[in-house]
């Protein structure tokens, strides 16, 4: 797997885990006492955090808040924005 492929794979993991967090979060808003859903939320949050951390350590910041630096550089504006198509 080349760098672009492994980067895409990790990005997909982030999207999958983040989506699961969003979906469980919405469900819990109207079912706040559903303990199974609460467990799922914890699990998916953990998955999402792990995937983001891994991506950031390899390819630069993805979660904006205060986390713009990588290897002593201001990385935030060096990486592509998500709608940019990499040819």
């Amino acid at each position: 797997m080349n760098e672009k492929q492994s980067r895409c794979k990790l990005l997909k993991e982030i999207q999958i885990a983040s989506f699961a967090v969003v979906e469980t979060n919405l469900y819990l808003d109207t079912h706040p006492f559903d303990t199974d859903a609460l467990c799922a939320l914890k699990k998916y949050s953990e998955m999402s955090r792990k995937a983001i951390n891994e991506y950031e350590s390899l390819y630069g910041p993805i979660f904006a808040f205060g986390n713009y630096e990588n290897n002593g550089c201001y990385q935030w504006v060096k990486d592509p924005f998500p709608w940019e198509k990499e040819d």
Partner: protein, 269 residues
């Protein structure tokens, strides 16, 4: 506050630009049932919501809609990349191009620019949630129509994702409406107060022994509009404390009599 996460909620990778299709899909950005209107609608409505479940769902769905604004914008951006002037002319994209070049601008497919007249924040929990339910279905229909207009799988996949989200949001809003009506402090008639406005008012009191006196008090208070809310609330809370008006027996009697029930279904203003 919001924090930006630098990835799309769903991937968008469109190989073939198609400006004519972009001119249609743009309606789901700034059209009457588009994502900009959706996010503004929910994020505005949530302030008056008296129940945390409802405030929560409006905040979280409103936030997700911002992610959908970004997905639709990414689709538009990728559909209009590297166009030649000939392509712009022959596709009919020239009428958009003349005002916005290939910039992403929130407007309807008809060319009408985004306006907040597309949405409402009524300050009434029942009304607002019903608007939200309708909004999700209207957006779903628009996505259905977009799917009828293209067979490009690169476009269809993110559109199908967005369509599915409308259905999930509809479901959550329906549950929120259920919670709201249940909690509206008067299980038999949630119309009697507006819980977004009549803070602390207990509609039970309308059905109690002091019903007539209270309506008189209320009518007197409503002469002076500025004191309407506070006086009404104090009266009803005081009566409730005396536990005269919230007598379950008298309440049931009222509800058993349909004529009385409907006669009393007036909002207190």
């Amino acid at each position: 506050m919001w924090i930006y996460q630098k990835n799309l909620q769903y991937p968008v990778n469109i190989k073939n630009p198609n400006p004519a299709l972009a001119k249609v899909i743009i309606s789901q950005l700034g059209g009457p049932d588009g994502e900009v209107g959706a996010s503004m609608r929910y994020l505005s409505q949530r302030f008056g919501m008296p129940y945390r479940e409802v405030t929560g769902i409006l905040t979280d769905v409103g936030t997700e809609e911002l992610a959908h604004v970004e997905i639709v914008s990414a689709i538009l951006y990728q559909l209009t990349r590297c166009l030649t002037i000939d392509e712009i002319k022959s596709s009919g994209f020239d009428t958009y191009f003349v005002d916005h070049t290939a910039g992403v601008y929130p407007q309807a497919a008809s060319g009408m620019s985004f306006t907040t007249a597309f949405l409402q924040s009524k300050g009434d929990i029942i009304t607002d949630l019903n608007e939200d339910l309708a909004a999700e279905q209207k957006a779903r229909t628009t996505y259905d129509n977009i799917l009828r207009l293209t067979d490009d799988p690169d476009v269809r996949e993110p559109i199908k994702f967005l369509r599915a989200r409308e259905i999930v949001h509809y479901q959550r809003f329906a549950e929120a409406l259920g919670i709201a009506t249940e909690k509206a402090d008067c299980k038999n008639n949630f119309y009697i107060t507006n819980p977004s406005f009549d803070i602390k008012c207990s509609p039970d009191c309308f059905f109690g022994q002091n019903k007539n006196k209270q309506m008189q008090d209320y009518n007197r208070n409503s002469e002076n509009k500025s004191s309407l809310n506070s006086n009404y609330c104090e009266d009803t809370m005081l009566n409730r404390k005396n536990s005269l008006s919230c007598d379950i027996k008298s309440k049931n009697t009222v509800f058993k009599n349909e004529n009385n029930y409907f006669k009393d279904c007036k909002r207190p203003y």
